[in-house]
Symmetry: none
Subunit: 412 residues, 2 copies
C-alpha cells in the first residue's frame, strides 16, 4: 500500500508556515508499514488541487489531505474532492451541534460560514475532531482511499493517531509489525561510516539499514518487519552486532539518546559530580547538561573564564602557563579541567578553550579547540579539534565533542 500526503494551503506556498503535518503523518505511516513515495503541497485553488489529485490517483492507493476544511472562502478541499470523486456534501448533525455549542460556550457570535465546517461526504466514515470544529473524513472510491484532515496540527495529530490509524489498520489488515532501532554515532562522518559498512548496507533487506546525518549526530536506523516485536528484535540483533564490531567505537547511544542525555545518564549512574571551566563555549557545555532533568544531583556549578584575567584570577591558571603555551593549548585545557575540579570539589572537571572564530585567538587558527577532562586523581585526558564551521557551529561542536569524549571516558 502506497500513500501520498497532500497539504493544501497558500500559507505553506508563501513560506508562512512549515509543513510539520507531513513529517508527523509520514512517521506514523512508517510505523504501520505504509510506504510514502510522495508529499505534495498545493495552494487553495480548485483547479490546481484537481490536477494534483489526478496525478496522485495514478501513483498511490491512499491519499491523505491536510488543510482547507475551515470556514472561510479559501477553504475548498471538500468541494474539490467531492466533485473529483463523484460524491455529495451533506451537513453532519453531530458536527453542527458541536460547532453551535462551541459558540454558545465561548459567548462568541456564530457566523453563517461556520456551518460549512459541518459539511461531509454523504458516504464517508467520519473522523471526529476532538480539538476543533471541522471533522475529518475517510472514503473509498474505485479502490483508492481518501482521508481528509484539518490543517492545525493540534487538531490533526490526535485525529490521525486516534481515528485515521485504526481506519488504515482495518484497511491493510496487516499482521506484520515494524520494529526499529536507531544507532547514534559521533566523531565519524556519514560518508566514512557508510564506506566502512558498505558490505552490510548492500546485503541487507530485513532489517533494512538506513544512514542519516542530523545536525548533532550520524545515525543508522535498523528496521525489521516481523510477526511480533520479539521476532523483529531478533532479526535486528545480529546486524547490530556486526555493525558494532566495525564502528562500535563511534556509537554513543541508541534510539532517543542525545549526547547530553547519555552523558547525564552515565554521570547519574556512576554518582559522579561534575563541573566545567569554559572559555570559547562560555557556559554552553554546562547549559546542555542542565537541559536534562535530574542533573542537579551531579552538576554543582562551574565557571565561565572568558578572558585571560578571569582565568588567572578566578581559576588560578598560572600566567606563566598562558605566556608559555598560550590560552588555546593542551596545557591550558588540562589546567582548566583540573583547577575547576579542585575549586568546585567534584569528581570530574571539564575544560574548554579554543578559537571560535572568525578571528584567530591566542596564536591559534579559528576552529582550533582543546578539551580537557579530569576524572578523579588521574592525569587529565586532552583532545584537540580542528573545526571549520562558523563561530557558533564551532562552539556547538566543541560542546558536542566534549560530551562525546566524556561519554567515552565514563563507558570505559
Amino acid at each position: 500500500m502506497k500513500a501520498e500526503i497532500i497539504a493544501i494551503g497558500s500559507e505553506l506556498l508563501l513560506g508562512q508556515i512549515t509543513n510539520t503535518n507531513a513529517k508527523f503523518i509520514a512517521t506514523e505511516l512508517a510505523e504501520i508499514g505504509i510506504d510514502v513515495y510522495y508529499q505534495t503541497v498545493v495552494g487553495d485553488n480548485s483547479q490546481r488541487l484537481n490536477e494534483v489529485l489526478e496525478i496522485a490517483q495514478k501513483r498511490a492507493d491512499v491519499l491523505i489531505f491536510t488543510g482547507g476544511l475551515g470556514p472561510t472562502k479559501d477553504d475548498m478541499t471538500k468541494e474539490s474532492i467531492a466533485k473529483c470523486i463523484g460524491t455529495r456534501l451533506v451537513s453532519n448533525g453531530e458536527a453542527l451541534t458541536y460547532i453551535e455549542d462551541y459558540f454558545k460556550r465561548t459567548g462568541r457570535v456564530m457566523t453563517e460560514n461556520n456551518k460549512k465546517q459541518a459539511l461531509v461526504f454523504e458516504d464517508a466514515t467520519i473522523l471526529p475532531n476532538r480539538h476543533g470544529m471541522a471533522p475529518g473524513m475517510a472514503i473509498e472510491k474505485k479502490a483508492i482511499r481518501y482521508i481528509l484532515l484539518p490543517g492545525p496540527p493540534h487538531e490533526m495529530e490526535p485525529m490521525f493517531r486516534d481515528e485515521a490509524i485504526p481506519y488504515l489498520l482495518g484497511v491493510t489488515g496487516k499482521k506484520e509489525v515494524i520494529v526499529s532501532r536507531v544507532l547514534k554515532f559521533y566523531g565519524i562522518g556519514e560518508a566514512e561510516l557508510e564506506f566502512r559498512i558498505q558490505h552490510i548496507l548492500d546485503k541487507q533487506s530485513n532489517p533494512t539499514v538506513a544512514p542519516l546525518a542530523t545536525r548533532e549526530a550520524v545515525t543508522l536506523r535498523l528496521t525489521a518487519k516481523a510477526l511480533s516485536k520479539a521476532e523483529g528484535l531478533k532479526l535486528i540483533e545480529p546486524v547490530e552486532k556486526e555493525i558494532r564490531a566495525i564502528v562500535g567505537d563511534f556509537i554513543f547511544g541508541i534510539d532517543d539518546d542525545t549526547l547530553a542525555s547519555k552523558a547525564v545518564d552515565l554521570l547519574l549512574a556512576n554518582q559522579f559530580s561534575i563541573t566545567a571551566a569554559e572559555s570559547l563555549t562560555a557556559g554552553l557545555f554546562m547549559a546542555e547538561l542542565a537541559g536534562e532533568p535530574g542533573i542537579s544531583d551531579s552538576l554543582k556549578g562551574g565557571v565561565v573564564v572568558y578572558n585571560e584575567e578571569t582565568k588567572i584570577k578566578h581559576l588560578d591558571i598560572s600566567a606563566n602557563l598562558l605566556s608559555e603555551y598560550g590560552v588555546v593549548s593542551e596545557e591550558c585545557a588540562a589546567a582548566l579541567a583540573v583547577n575547576a575540579k579542585r575549586k568546585f570539589d567534584t569528581d570530574i572537571g571539564v575544560g574548554l578553550t579554543g578559537a571560535a572564530g572568525p578571528e584567530s585567538h591566542g596564536g591559534q587558527a579559528a576552529g582550533t579547540v582543546w578539551i580537557g577532562i579530569a576524572i578523579g586523581e588521574s592525569t587529565p585526558h586532552t583532545y584537540k579539534l580542528l573545526l571549520s564551521g562558523t563561530r557558533n557551529s564551532n562552539r556547538q561542536r566543541a560542546v558536542n565533542f566534549a560530551l562525546y569524549y566524556l561519554i567515552k571516558q565514563l563507558h570505559t
Copy 2:
C-alpha cells in the same frame, strides 16, 4: 515566473526530518515576487524523481531542488537531472580542492566517494558552498531554470540567499525592487500585537504589513514595492512610525537583530563590561552573548551556581537569605547580580534563578523565574516570570527575557 520546490530525500518521506527548506525557499521567493504553486517531496529514487521532474517541467519555469548532493550511493539528484535534461557531469576543480583541503585540515581520511560531491553539470553556473562540501548549481535548458541546492539547512540557506537569489533576480530582470523592514518584538504575543494594530494591518497595501511569530520573537515585516530602494524606504517610514507610536515599547530591534546581537551591540557601544551568575540557565545566558563576535571586549566571565552550596561558597550568597526567601526569589536574583558584578569587577551583573521544571524548586512552581540586573552602583532591577513551557523552553525563555530586559535598561 512560477517556481516549484522539490525536496529529495527518503528521510523526509519516512518522517525523520521536517522539510524546513521548502518554507525557507518559499519565503525568499515571495520576497522577490516569484510565485510558488507547488512543493513536492520525493525519495532517493531515480525513476520517481524523473517522474516528478516531468510533471514539474509542465507546470513551472523554475525548479528548485534540495538534497541528494552528498557523497553516498543514495545521493542521485545530479545524475538523474543530468540524464533528464541532457547534460554531462564533470569534476569541478575548485570544489574538489575544497573537499581535499577539508579532509587535510581536519586530519580525517578522505574516502573515494567524497569526490562525487565535486561533480557538477558541465554547463552550469556554480553556486559555491561556503559551509559544506557539495556545491550548488543553476542551469537553463529549454527556457526552464533548474537550481540544485544541498539538503542541510545550514549549507542551503546561505547559498540560497547569497547565490541563488542574485541569479534569479538576474533572470527575472525586474525593474521593481522589493524593500522590506522587519520590526522585532519581545514580551508581547502575536494575537495581542495584531489586535492593537488591526486598523493598520487592514488598510495597508504598499507597504504590506505581515505579522509572523518565530521561536524567538514576534515580528512585523513591512514590504514595499517601488522603483528604488530610497523610494521604498520612504513608503515604509510613516507606517513604521505609526506602529512604533502604539507598540514601540516592545520593539527590541530591526531586520537581522536578535536579542543577543542587540544586547551585545549596546554593551559594546556603551563600553560596558558584563558578567552573570546563572542557576536554572546554567550558562546559557553567557553562551548566547558569546555567540556574538566582539563580545570579548565586554564579557569577562561569570559563574554557574547550580546548587545552594555553590551559591554560598562561590558567590557569597548568604545562607540566611536563602533560608529566609528561598533560592527562587527576588532577593536571590538581586544578590546573584550584585555579587557577580562585584566578584568579576564589571559594570553589569545579571542573576538568573528559577524552577525550570518539570518539578517545583525552592518552594516555587515550575516556570517561576527571577531575573536580577545590576548596573553600576544603583539598586538592581528585578523581574519575575511565570512560564508554562517545558524545562528547556522555560530555560531558553528565561535567557530571552534577561536579554530583553538588559536591552531595555541599556536603551534608557
